[in-house]
Structure formats: structure tokens, C-alpha cells
Amino acid sequence: MAAAGDHFAVLGLTARHDLPRDEVETAYLARAQVWHPDKVAPGETAARRQAMEASAALNEAYRVVRDPISRLEYIVKTQGIDLDSSDENTGAPSPSQAFLIDMIERRDDLEQAKASGGSKAASFRDAVEDSHDEAVDAAIAAVAGGDTPAAAQWLVQRRYWQRLLDEIDA
């Protein structure tokens, strides 16, 4: 099975943050046809096992690379910062004090917007969405400029915005 560092290689793609969606789909579908366990006869246990592992690696690669956000996070991970880890050196960086204070204020606003409802709630959501998109754009720029720590910082902030959006929609 391909190692966890190879999602782009499994798909036969070069590691880029700006892969066109269509390119990912075409690469995935071509490989999915070849590696699917259904292509191996039911009795061929060992060969089916292999096909199963190859397919599993392919599907995991597809899941990570297809979505632009998880792709960015994955690129940052291959460059040494794992956002899913709490390790001091290689894990997700802590957001700045200023950012956390901003988040606390926004959460207060959320309660008020929810209480008043209507257009106020809608414009609050729009503002959060804008902040989310700004964080994504900044992360893309940092990845393009080779500044992995900055990209990680923006991606951490994006996660906070995403959580807030999910709460608004809930």
C-alpha cells in the first residue's frame, strides 16, 4: 500500500495546490477502473486483497486531494506541519491572542444575530463566510510562496471560521 506521503503520486499527479478539479477526476476514474476489486475474480483471494489495498489507497488519496481545503492541509502536512496533531513542534500552531479575542466577540455577535434573526442573521453569516474565504486565499498565497508556517496559521484560522459557519447553519 502506498505510504501516507504519496496521495498525489497514487493519483499520478504532481503535488500542486491549484489542481483543476477535472484533472483530479480523470486521473482518479482511470485508476479506479483498473484497481477495483471487482476486476479480480471472486476466488482469487490474494489478488483481491491486493486490489482492495490499492483501491483503498486510491480512494483515500482521492478524498484528500479532491477537496481544495483538505488538499491544502495535506500539502502543509507533507511540508512538516500536521494540523491534526497537537505536537508542539510539528502540530497545529496556536492561533494568535488577537485572533482568539476576535473569535470570542464574533461568538457574542452570533448569539445576538440568532436572537434577532432575519436579514441580520444573514448578513452576519455573509461576514463570517468572507473571513473564511480570506483565510483560504491567504493560505493559498503562503503555500505558493513556500511559507509553510504562515500557511498553517491561516489554515488553523480557517478551521475556526468553518466551525462558526457550521454552528450558524445548525
Binding site: 482511470a30 479506479a32 477495483h36 483471494t45 482492495m52 480512494n59 482521492y62
Partner: protein, 660 residues
């Protein structure tokens, strides 16, 4: 989980790790695989051998649909139409819609049913077990196996040989326990299950090949007891499920129940008996079906009166139930990232989509009239048969079917929170890994709790498996490394592999769901089923042989009586040997006669051989007598007609016997 420091508990219990049973190696026989739609209310079998168009296989009376009903009033149980007729008299012993119980524990049964469930034994897995009377308790898997056996036998008749493998369809929304239960049912029925195929995927397969193009499709499948919605894409020879959703306890049966409730209210029956309830349900179902074409219909009430039910009233009654399908449709579109108007087609599956109200609802939800070119009752079986043919190794050009995980798979972490490790709608097969470590040097074990579902709290999700891992080497805190891999195969069935990274030892455990049968139980049921198949076979052979012998005894007896009226036809010595053979035949035919069918066959063959000359002479004489005054052509026609009749009798006699 993953955060090593938070979630390891020393439980001290043993983690049973075993090598998975190696799959039997079965030689492939192209064209002999079958597709089975194991439905809540009806089941079907279809074949599409060696690239042929799919066709459903009918029973002896031309009926393709087999009611998914098993009656335990008789032993062995009866299946299908015959079982359904017994439903009114013995509602608790005649099992229908058993699919609703598949992979479920007694605690999950929150819908009404007329059966007697047996509470699980202390400490045993909580599996629904139904007391069907006569000291017999059955699981839903065994009941489903009886249905599968009938369908497989039907297919065998059609193919001329036993099927080598089967593709069985399941609702896309079925969780791991329900899929495992279905696969177990296949094994109990003695079938090699090549693949569990999601019903909507099967339907799209049937349609997609017909159209041969590219496109985005929604499949709206409202069956008797389940509702599924799937968004699929066909592109570059790959059928890809983009998203799936639904409700595994919502279907046409709920329409019937809502209407039955209305009927009981109209009849003023506040506390109906089980029989009255069942009568109302049958009347409701008939009324619903009739109202698909008519505007109003007369409905008999359980109290003997009759009321007129209009389509308007029907729709007002079932409307709230039908509306429950809309939210999952919207969610599936959202999950797939597809807008309704981008769809190239909406496919209808399931008998309940014949209801006009449902079609209107589909049209308004997806903003286009749905497709229904293929019989919605058969389209799933067609797709299953096509895929079965592909998997049997035939030369058919198959599209590749990519399914998705129907529900998120997660692990319980500290505080009962679920951490998702494989998200819903991820393409399968797929694997996810988690590395665990120890929190102290004393810790040598840990508990892993695998859950399926979308809720945040473990208590709200379905518990798939709980196991304890023991034998972690004693190492300083956070130094041990135990990697656990969770793998969903192409059928969305889970395998867990644990690898101790310090030693590199790798072991695998096939996770059996909390609500499933253990491997041992399945094996026992398979053996029981084989035993009783053997038993049934022996009994049938004996019955057939006895009937054959009886026929010969009757014929010879009549001929002897005839000979008594015409002296000279039979010599004394010949007469004596025939009489002796007749006497032994009578002994064999007696109720306490031999049970080995070979002895019965031998008695018949002996009687036939000693009476052969006598029979031939009688025939010749009759022929000569009959031919007086006939032309040569007429004689040969008569002979041909007689032979023909004999052939047909010879060919069909035993079959009819076995049915009786």
C-alpha cells in the same frame, strides 16, 4: 482519537485476534451468476448470462415477484404466495417485511409488528429472534435465507445448473450490521455472495447501460420498507456514487399502516385485535394500489362495513409520510455538490413510486419529471444480474461501480465523543489508520469502540464493535505505538487490523457487528440448512418413488383384472411371478415400508420387468382391435399422439408429485 494521551483505558480483558477464514477458492463459471433483489415486501431473481439482456425468472405459474413472506405454520416452512395466504389466520407465525429486522437488536424495533420477539439472553448479542410457534425461534437472517433459497432454485431451473454466485442488493443506506446480516443470509442459503450491491446503483446500472452515455442521475427508491436516495455520476466507464442518503425504516408499508389506522378509526375500533389490524392493513394496501389508477374505491372495513375512499383522502393520509423523503433528497444533492437542475435524469425504483402523489413529489423536488421506462419493481434485479454476470467472468463489458460508505465510521474518545475516521460518502474500499500509544508503563491493554453514524455522541450512534487490545509491551509513557487500520471493503464491510509497530506483528480481526450473528452461528445455520436440504431431498425422492410404484401397481392390477375376464392372455407361470412382484410391491408401499427410495425404485423396476411381456401383448391386442377400419395414416397419428402423451406424462409426473 489519535491523540494518544487522552484515550487509552486499561481494561484487562482479552482481545480476540484471529486470522480471517481464508476464502474458499471457487472456480469461475461465466454466465452462471444470479442477481437477487431481496426486498422488504417482494423479492426477485434475474439472470443476464454471458452478456444477454437481463430477464427476471418467473415461478411455474409465470409470476416474477416472490412475496418476501415465510410461513412457519408448516414444517418445512412455505415461502411466497402460499405463505401469504396463511397470513390472516396466523399473523404471528407468518413473517413478512422481515428486512426491517435485519441487523437489528430488539431495542431498535420501534415500529409495530405482530410478532413475538424473544428477549436476548443475559450477556448474549442482542439480535432480533422471533418465536414462530411450535418451539421454533428464528432470526431474520434465517428467514431471509429461506427466501433466497427459493429464488436460487428458480434460477437453477432457468440456467439448467446451480448458480455459482450471486449479487444481492441492499439499500444504499444499510449500515454495516444490516449488510453483514444480508451477507450471512446468503451464506445460510448456501450462496456464494460475490457482492452486495446498493439498490440505487443496481437501478442506475440497468438504466445506464441502456443509455450508454455520461451523466448525472438521482435514483429515488421507495420500496415497501426502506427509502433510498442516491446521486450517481456515469463518466469514463465508471459509475460513481457521489452521495447517498435515506431512511432505513420508511416505505410503502408506512403508507399502508397510515391508511389502516384511518380505516380502524372509521370502523370505530379503538383496540383492534391483531386479526382486525391485519385485515385493515391488507384492505389499506389494496385500496392504495387501486387508487393509483382510480379516483375513488370501495374499501371493506374490519367490522364488515364498507366505506368509499377517495384519492384525495388517501393523499392527505399518506402525504406526511411521503414528505419525509424530501429532506434526505435535499441533503444528498448538497452532499454531492449537485443542483437539482444539473441532473440528467431521475430514476424511480420500488413499487411505492407508482403512487401518483410520490411522482408529483419527486417532480417538484428535482424539478423534472422522473424516468420510469423500466418496471420499477424489476429494475434493481436487472442491475444485480448484469453485475453478477460481469463478476462471473463473462465477456460482458462492465462499467466499474464505485460505492460510497453509507455512514461515517468513528471511534469513541474520552467523554463519549465520536471522532470520525472514515467520513460518510467516502468512496469504498477505503482504509483509515490511527496510532495509539500508552499513557503509563503499567498499561498493557486498551479498549477500542467502533461506531457508525453521524451523531456526535457515542450513545446516539450504532455500536459496531467493542474490543480490547491486550499485550502492549511495557514501555515508558507515550513510547508504545499501536497502529489500528479500519478498512471498509467493496461491500462496506469492516475489517480491523492491529499492528504493533515495535515488533511489527500484524493481526487481523473480522469485526462482527454487535447486532450480528457470530461466525460460529452462521456456520451452524449453514450446516443445519444443508442437513435439512439433504433431508428434504431424501423425503422428496422417497415420495416420488412411492408415487411411481403406486402408478405401476394400479396399472398392473387393472391389467390383471382384465386378464381374468379373458382367459388365455396370461400363462400361469407368468401370472405367478407377476403376483409375487405385486405382493412385494404392496409390502414396500405399506406405511411402515422402507424409507430408502432405492428399495422402492427396485420394487417398481422388478414389477415392470416381470409384467413387460404381458403389457406388450395387451397393447398389441388393443391396437389391433382399435385399428379395424382405420387408414394407415390415422394409425400412425394415433400412435404418435399416444407416445407424445406418454412423453409428457413421463416428463412431468414427478415434478407435480413433489409440489403436492
Amino acid at each position: 482519537m489519535g491523540n494518544a494521551d487522552t484515550d487509552i483505558h486499561d481494561t484487562g480483558a482479552l482481545f480476540q485476534i484471529e486470522e480471517p477464514a481464508s476464502a474458499r477458492k471457487v472456480p469461475l463459471t461465466p454466465g452462471r451468476a444470479i442477481g437477487i433483489d431481496l426486498g422488504t415486501t417482494h423479492s426477485l431473481v434475474a439472470v443476464a448470462p454471458n452478456g444477454a439482456d437481463p430477464r427476471t425468472v418467473a415461478d411455474g405459474e409465470g409470476r416474477c415477484l416472490l412475496p418476501s413472506v415465510v410461513s412457519y405454520v408448516e414444517d418445512p416452512p412455505t415461502v411466497g404466495w402460499a405463505a401469504r395466504t396463511a397470513q390472516l389466520e396466523a399473523p404471528s407465525r407468518v413473517l413478512s417485511s422481515v428486512k426491517r429486522f435485519m441487523g437489528r437488536g430488539t431495542g431498535d424495533v420501534d415500529f409495530s409488528h405482530p410478532y413475538t420477539l424473544v428477549p436476548p439472553a443475559e450477556g448474549a448479542a442482542d439480535i432480533v429472534r422471533i418465536d414462530v410457534g411450535g418451539d421454533k425461534v428464528v432470526t431474520p437472517m434465517e428467514v431471509s435465507a429461506r427466501i433466497l433459497e427459493v429464488l436460487a432454485a428458480r434460477a437453477e431451473q432457468e440456467l439448467g445448473e446451480p448458480p455459482t454466485g450471486a449479487v444481492i442488493t441492499v439499500p444504499a443506506y444499510f449500515d454495516e450490521a444490516q449488510r453483514q446480516a444480508t451477507k450471512d443470509a446468503g451464506r445460510i442459503a448456501g450462496l456464494e455472495v460475490y457482492r452486495l450491491l446498493a439498490e440505487p446503483t443496481a437501478a442506475a446500472l440497468a438504466y445506464g447501460l441502456d443509455r450508454g452515455g455520461q451523466g448525472l442521475f438521482a435514483v429515488y427508491d421507495l420500496g415497501g420498507g426502506t427509502f433510498d436516495i442516491s446521486i450517481l455520476r456515469l463518466r469514463d466507464g465508471v459509475f460513481q456514487v457521489l452521495a447517498t442518503g435515506g431512511d432505513s425504516a420508511l416505505g410503502g408499508d408506512d403508507f399502508d399502516r397510515a391508511v389502516a389506522q384511518l380505516l380502524l378509526e372509521k370502523a370505530g375500533l379503538v383496540e383492534p385485535t391483531p386479526l382486525q389490524r391485519e385485515q385493515a392493513r391488507v384492505a389499506a394496501r389494496d385500496a392504495k394500489e387501486a387508487l393509483s389508477d382510480k379516483d375513488s374505491v370501495e374499501v371493506p372495513l374490519p367490522d364488515g362495513a364498507t366505506i368509499t375512499l377517495s384519492r384525495e383522502t388517501l393523499e392527505a393520509t399518506i402525504g406526511p409520510v411521503a414528505e419525509r423523503t424530501v429532506a434526505p433528497c435535499r441533503q444528498a444533492l448538497k452532499d454531492a455538490g449537485v443542483r437539482a437542475k444539473e441532473l440528467d435524469g431521475v430514476v424511480l425504483v420500488g413499487g411505492s413510486t407508482r403512487t401518483p402523489l410520490v411522482r408529483q413529489l419527486v417532480e417538484s423536488t428535482f424539478r423534472q419529471p422522473p424516468l420510469a421506462d423500466i418496471d420499477p419493481d424489476r429494475v434493481v434485479a436487472y442491475g444485480a444480474a448484469i453485475q453478477a454476470d460481469v463478476l462471473s467472468g463473462s465477456a460482458r463489458d462492465g462499467v466499474t461501480l464505485l460505492d460510497v460508505a453509507p455512514l461515517s465510521l468513528g471511534l469513541e474518545t474520552m467523554g463519549g465523543i465520536v471522532e470520525t475516521i472514515i467520513p460518510r460518502n467516502a468512496a469504498i474500499p477505503i482504509a483509515a489508520r490511527q496510532v495509539f500509544t500508552n499513557y503509563s508503563e503499567q498499561q498493557t491493554g486498551m479498549m477500542v469502540h467502533v461506531l457508525q453514524g453521524e451523531r456526535e455522541l457515542a450513545d446516539d450512534c450504532r455500536s459496531l464493535a467493542k474490543f480490547d487490545l491486550k499485550g502492549i509491551p511495557q514501555l515508558p509513557p507515550s513510547m508504545a505505538r499501536i497502529e489500528i487500520t479500519f478498512e471498509l471493503d467493496a461491500d462496506a464491510l469492516l475489517t480491523v487490523t492491529a499492528r504493533e509497530l515495535m515488533t511489527g506483528v500484524r493481526q487481523t480481526v473480522q469485526v462482527k457487528p454487535t447486532y450480528g450473528l457470530s461466525d460460529e452461528e452462521v456456520d451452524r445455520l449453514v450446516i443445519e440448512s444443508l442437513d435439512s436440504a439433504e433431508d428434504d431431498f431424501t423425503r422428496r425422492n422417497l415420495a416420488e418413488a412411492r408415487v411411481e410404484l403406486g402408478r405401476v401397481v394400479l396399472a398392473v392390477g387393472a391389467a390383471l383384472w382384465d386378464a381374468d375376464q379373458r382367459p388365455g392372455l396370461l400363462e400361469d407361470a407368468e401370472r405367478a411371478s407377476i403376483d409375487t412382484a405385486m405382493q412385494s410391491a404392496q409390502v414396500v408401499m405399506a406405511p411402515d415400508g422402507p424409507t430408502d427410495h432405492k428399495l422402492v425404485v427396485a420394487a417398481r423396476e422388478h414389477l415392470e420387468s416381470v409384467s413387460e411381456g404381458f403389457a406388450r401383448r395387451r397393447m398389441e391386442r388393443a391396437l389391433l382391435a382399435g385399428m379395424e377400419g382405420m387408414s394407415v395414416t390415422e394409425v400412425s397419428d394415433t400412435l404418435a399422439a399416444d407416445e407424445d402423451l406418454d412423453d409428457r406424462r413421463g416428463g412431468h409426473g414427478p415434478e407435480q408429485v413433489s409440489k403436492g
